[in-house]
Subunit: 331 residues, 2 copies
């Protein structure tokens, strides 16, 4: 067995190819074979679509799997590589992080060939797939613990030209929200690494909670819109219907826009995503668990904003994030 | 410290009381103090409300906590005991089972005083709270891995009179579904034990997925309807609005109505709860994970039925349940 990652087929061959990205074995696991689809129609955009980075976000793998079904009929040019599941051990365990080494794949880029299994996956993708694309769509979701609207997101990028191109690409999904997301913990992220290589990288956050059929149709429509914008397929882009509305807005959220729980206890959500709130409006309530005599604590909006994410009702620690506020992007 | 469970207050005292049910320490954990609320207005129904049996079903604890807030203004007679969280270690861990001993509290009844922590919780509830009530509402939900409508449920009961009374009580919630649920794994369930003591026990399954504010309002309305039916509070019962509809139907599901995955892979839901399906309609698709050349497998309805539960899109094993079908109850 080789010690370096490899593909079981040649991405430069024309037409449809299905094979595997082989992540070499290491001290902590056997080799992994990640199924890969490639449709090469010659000149045109070079796109990489990935899903299943976090094992409890299955929206991406399912939408990617649907792409594999309809793309052969629809794609007119360029080359699309699809890797529906970046992290099979995490998906099998319905776990955000990889069970074997406990690492978050989205903090492990560009990876290490001699590292643990998560680092070896990142290394294989960084070496063999990332260089083959100019544009990357990484299909995430907010996971089971949050309420979140279907959104395409990007973190701020220092290179103004790449920032503008990335934001335009994100908006082309025409999902209910395009989000410019200032985040405090970006080293090792797939997008941070791809942006450093000059790639246009959009992270789709395809909703949250239970993965249901109606929501999946919205996500697939958003990804199809982005394919149309890239010129890979023909058609008319259209905002999908979300909560009886066809609309798309571009929002910005800062690290300081995260609301934290004031104490340990059970969080009760009292607002919904995309609610417009004013200073003092109720976002949620924290119920201390140890005694019913202890007062519950209201969590209120500090300023006029739009609710971008609300944590599901569940037990939280003090200072744990329970909501993310946002406002229309002005730039 | 006592070796037997105890309450820190007397349930027979009139008015509002807040205190704790103390579950004795054992070899595996310290003593637990479970917050208890009691409102005693003398003659009338004797009701026990519990939540948080499974630690990843927080709908119940939040609705129970809301009851504690409005009941003092609303209750006109009888005695209501509320235990919002039956299993604090599981709730803190967002885990169905108790982390310390790995047991499912809803398979541990009537419990053991000299058992592990889960068995000691069941023992404390069985000894000190269950005898104080004639009716029990145990507030569950279908958890984060399923799509499920707000429902009140009961398993079949051999005693025909108790069965009829229990079904009437379940219907009084006026939730979108009242479900008579034949289930294969009932020994050790809280309801099985309570029914054996002649109690009317309704298990509310308050939806599923993310615990959000709109859904919580439906659940609270359902519980309030049941309080009205019992005569504990005054008011007019009303079907809450679920998916733009105000309706309530009584369904029956058998053990044989569970659809299983035909293979190991990623399940893609293709229907929604309360969909009416005919024989051959698509319920979901199973995508093998190991290769994109392997055919996906359609999972179809075997007969005319109503979709009662659909598993969230996620990785499943062969023969794992992915949907539950039902039909209108004829009795």
């Amino acid at each position: 067995m080789s010690d370096t990652p490899r593909l079981t087929f040649d991405l430069d061959e024309p037409g449809i190819r299905k094979g595997h990205l082989v992540v070499p074995k290491g001290t902590d696991s056997e080799a992994l074979s990640l199924p890969v689809f490639c449709l090469n129609k010659g000149q045109g955009p070079r796109l990489l679509v990935t899903g299943g980075c976090h094992g409890n976000e299955l929206e991406g793998p399912i939408v990617a799997r649907r792409l594999v079904d309809w793309l052969p009929e629809a794609q007119t040019c360029g080359r699309v590589i699809i890797l529906p599941v970046l992290n099979p051990p995490a998906v099998q365990a319905w776990s955000r992080n990889t069970p074997v080494d406990g690492l978050n794949l989205n903090r492990a880029f560009p990876g290490r060939g001699d590292g643990s299994v998560t680092e070896r996956i990142a290394d294989a993708v960084s070496r063999l797939l990332l260089p083959m694309a100019d544009t990357i769509f990484d299909l995430h979701s907010f996971g089971p613990l949050w309420d979140f609207p279907p959104a395409s997101t990007t973190h701020p990028i220092a290179d103004a030209d790449l920032m503008a191109k990335t934001l335009r690409m994100a908006q082309a999904f025409k999902l209910p929200v395009t989000l410019l997301w200032e985040y405090h913990d970006t080293p090792g992220m797939f997008d941070t690494w791809a942006h450093s290589q000059g790639k246009v990288f959009v992270c789709a956050e395809l909703g949250s909670g239970t993965v249901g059929s109606e929501a999946l149709a919205i996500y697939e429509a958003g990804v199809r819109n982005a394919f149309i914008a890239l010129g890979l397929v023909e058609g008319e882009a259209e905002c999908p219907t979300f909560r009886q509305q066809k609309s798309s807005q571009t929002l910005e959220t800062l690290s300081s826009d995260e609301l934290k729980s004031p104490a340990r206890g059970i969080f009760e959500p009292r607002c919904s995503v995309l609610d417009e709130v004013k200073r003092g409006d109720l976002i949620g309530i924290l119920h201390p668990m140890d005694s019913l005599s202890a007062d519950s604590i209201d969590i209120r909006a500090p300023t006029t904003s739009i609710v971008c994410a609300v944590k599901s009702g569940l037990h939280v620690d003090a200072n744990e994030g329970v909501a993310l506020l946002a406002r229309p992007l002005n730039r």
